[in-house]
Symmetry: C2
Subunit: 476 residues, 2 copies
């Protein structure tokens, strides 16, 4: 056991195992063995015990671990919390609640004591059980690869590392080590009722599977190692893809290039969106296959404007123009980049009007009409030219009102609802309400970015021209 | 069932399912269902039956399938072979022998009848059993991803595709389809004794696993699908790596850039060498983790000259300079690029001597010794200058003899065995025997590419110079 541990520190842990190491010690054989071998390997350790208050003996066990730490001459930290209460308050399973509180405690103590590494006592049998549990629920690569010997748990701390030095050591060898070294162990937490499912795996299913392949456990451990490498390769591919498609990393949202997503294959998308979920919500441990598949289909099959699709843990996904946005349901995604008008404003010729998002609107009279050909072939939707003699009322800039209608340039008869026009033009729904409209009373003269109104167009009889331009200021 | 099949042809099979389709029909429910739905979907099919001669009823079954084909009005092809004999002759398991002969027959018939696609009746339960079998032996990604809906079996044919239209259809639905459509099925081959292991999985282990997760089979099917995508990503990464490290693709060997291999991570290497194995031996279906690991360690830890490591299926791996070579044990890897001498040849001043591999050796007398500084600082080991007055016998070019010794330039006393010199200089072992040595009787004057002999060096009293040069000809 000691030899394996030293090889672990020489290989997996090379260069990252800064001391002191905070060790989670329940008092069971696994953690006592871990503690003892760490001490023998002359590592500087801090003993951390978390009391889950799940059993009457819990108090005594905490005391036992404390005494042991004193005997080793090590720093001891502990905390006690009612896991049952925390579970029912937060609708977690008891196992999930225990895990959350325990890691929260360990990481807080590590920060507190300046430890950059936390060691926990998961061993090879734990690994086999973990992989098997993932297999039973049809997990993908990230589950089947099992626990990592060295990892981060970003939901608890972005920097402190979690290590599992015993991950290649079997329970049998740990028990033998404890006997040989007369370690006084208390009942292992893993034998509690709350891990009934795991216990059934351990005592029934795994022995059954060993009748098919006597080397099953060893084989599974090796398989997990091989999958860990493959997982890294997949992750590298996803890294590259993320970088090439991400447009904006917001606090609670991410924006991607939709064309690039649509051009990629489902396997990349599936992995990308698993990562998106953990990026936006570091507590997400695993994303259901169906949920990811729903998003992949949403991207692949295109989307109708204004539709969106539920993702996971309060996240949702929607498309906007050439962008795909993933956001928390309650996030206000900034609309700073769009021209938006919050309240009706008077527009005067020659006076720039400033709108939200650093946009400004300017109307000027142009005396000459020398370049009429150039004007009529105008292809910039953020400029418009109109017959000044037809503009005989006050100009306004305002958002859309119910019932607004519009006769777009080129439509010689009738009109269309502005709301329908927006839908036809695929203006993303979030932008519609405050999209600036240039109006004269109820009459819409121009929808910047789209079209001016047919009746006000330049004709052969036009003598004076009004030039409208909506500009994004370049100010920093 | 029909709907699923049509969706299969519209999606996975889009554009590749050229008709006619050759269908493997055993006569069991799976293959009869497949045949029936293909006919209903108006595909042009050819019925192919292979008689394994494993049971007394086999004859009758062949007849049954033949009659059925006639009833459908379809072309029928069949073959009969003694699987048991083939198995014992080749030391295959009966199951492996049956698979080989069956696929050999199907692909031969497909070629024969101009079919580019073969359909087989593997269904969702087969897939679950396959994945579980791989899981039990601790397989990596390529095993856990299960069977592909559309694939190639290059060991049987490089171009003809194998499709599995029922891969998402459960056995239950197939049986129901057969009942509803009154298909007269014979006993399924998969219920034979030879698949005892699989039957135990089916009737014992899988139901047991369903008590842990009632949706286990469905979950596993989804998981396999997700892993299939990840496998593609890994394969893409390996593709790129293969291209950037391969130096030569020989008939029975591959040469890679060793530095590039050493700089890469184990996961890429593992996958690369799995691919190397199937590239060199298309019959290899799976490479043992330990075997791959041995090669990865060999690369990572460097190698001593002349050592090699066993790979899989008669392949071995060895390093040579900056190259890593994987070859069949009985392959003669060409040595054309090296200077080699097959038999002793007389070397005359002024007359070029041609060696194997387009190398030529020329000795010339140089009258002037004006550029002595330039000569003595010579750093090209394929040129040598010697004191001509000391060369008083016949010059030869020959390979190494037992007992050859040599006093390299700079070694003022004593001598060293040529064989030890080669080892010190890390001359790859395969090149040593025929490496050209320039000698005068037993005296070694020059080892081209390495060092000339100390006693013949130029000194202050040298009056005449012999210039030796070994050149690679540029002839095409």
């Amino acid at each position: 056991v000691l030899a394996k541990l030293i090889s672990f520190f020489d290989n997996e842990c090379a260069g990252i195992c800064v001391e002191p190491i905070l060790v989670g010690v329940s008092g069971g054989p696994d953690s006592l063995c871990l503690l003892d071998v760490l001490v023998r390997a002359q590592k500087q350790v801090i003993v951390a015990h978390f009391n889950h208050q799940l059993r009457p003996e819990a108090e005594q066990e905490a005391e036992h671990v404390c005494k042991l730490a004193v005997k080793y001459g090590l720093l001891f930290v502990s905390e006690s919390q009612d896991v049952q209460v925390f579970a029912s308050e937060n609708k977690f399973s008891v196992e999930e609640a225990a895990r959350k509180l325990r890691y929260r405690f360990l990481f807080a103590q590590a920060r507190n004591k300046g430890a950059q590494v936390i060691a926990v006592a998961h061993h090879a049998d734990d690994q086999v059980e973990t992989v098997l549990m993932h297999f039973l629920r049809g997990a993908g690569l990230s589950g089947l690869k099992g626990m990592a010997p060295v990892t981060h748990l970003p939901e608890f701390d972005p920097d402190i590392r979690l290590i599992r030095p015993l991950l290649r050591t079997w329970r049998r060898d740990i028990d033998e080590y404890c006997r040989e070294n007369h370690l006084e162990t208390v009942q292992d937490l893993s034998n509690l009722d709350l891990t009934y499912f795991r216990n059934r795996l351990r005592h029934s299913l795994i022995p059954e599977m060993e009748t098919y392949n006597p080397g099953f456990k060893q084989a599974l451990l090796r398989g997990a190692e091989s999958l860990t490498g493959d997982f890294q390769l997949v992750n590298n591919a996803v890294d590259g893809f993320w970088k090439s498609t991400i447009i904006e990393i917001g606090k609670d949202y991410l924006t991607f290039n939709l064309d690039a997503l649509q051009a990629s294959n489902p396997a990349v998308l599936r992995n990308l969106f698993r990562r998106v979920a953990t990026h936006l919500n570091s507590g997400v441990r695993d994303v259901n296959f169906e949920v990811v598949e729903r998003v992949v289909r949403f991207i692949r099959d295109g989307y109708a404007v204004s539709t969106k699709v539920d993702f996971t843990d309060g996240l949702y996904v929607f498309g906007e123009g050439n962008q795909l946005i993933v956001a928390n349901r309650y996030t206000n995604i900034p609309v700073l980049d769009w021209p938006q008008v919050r309240q009706t404003a008077k527009l005067e010729v020659g006076v720039p009007l400033f709108l939200d998002g650093n946009w400004s609107l300017l109307v000027e009279e142009k005396e000459s009409i020398q370049d009429l050909a150039g004007i009529t072939s105008n292809s910039d939707p953020f400029q418009a030219w109109m017959d000044a003699d037809l503009i005989c009322g006050n100009l306004q800039v305002r958002g859309r009102k119910d019932g607004d209608r519009f006769q777009p340039l080129g439509m010689s008869k009738g009109s269309i609802k502005v709301s329908d026009f927006f839908i036809n033009e695929k203006l993303p729904s979030r932008r519609r309400k405050n999209w600036p409209l240039v109006s004269m009373g109820d009459e819409i003269l121009w929808i910047p970015g789209y079209r001016s109104a047919h009746p006000y167009r330049l004709t052969g009889t036009t003598r004076r021209i009004l030039h409208f331009e909506l500009n994004k200021s370049r100010k920093v």
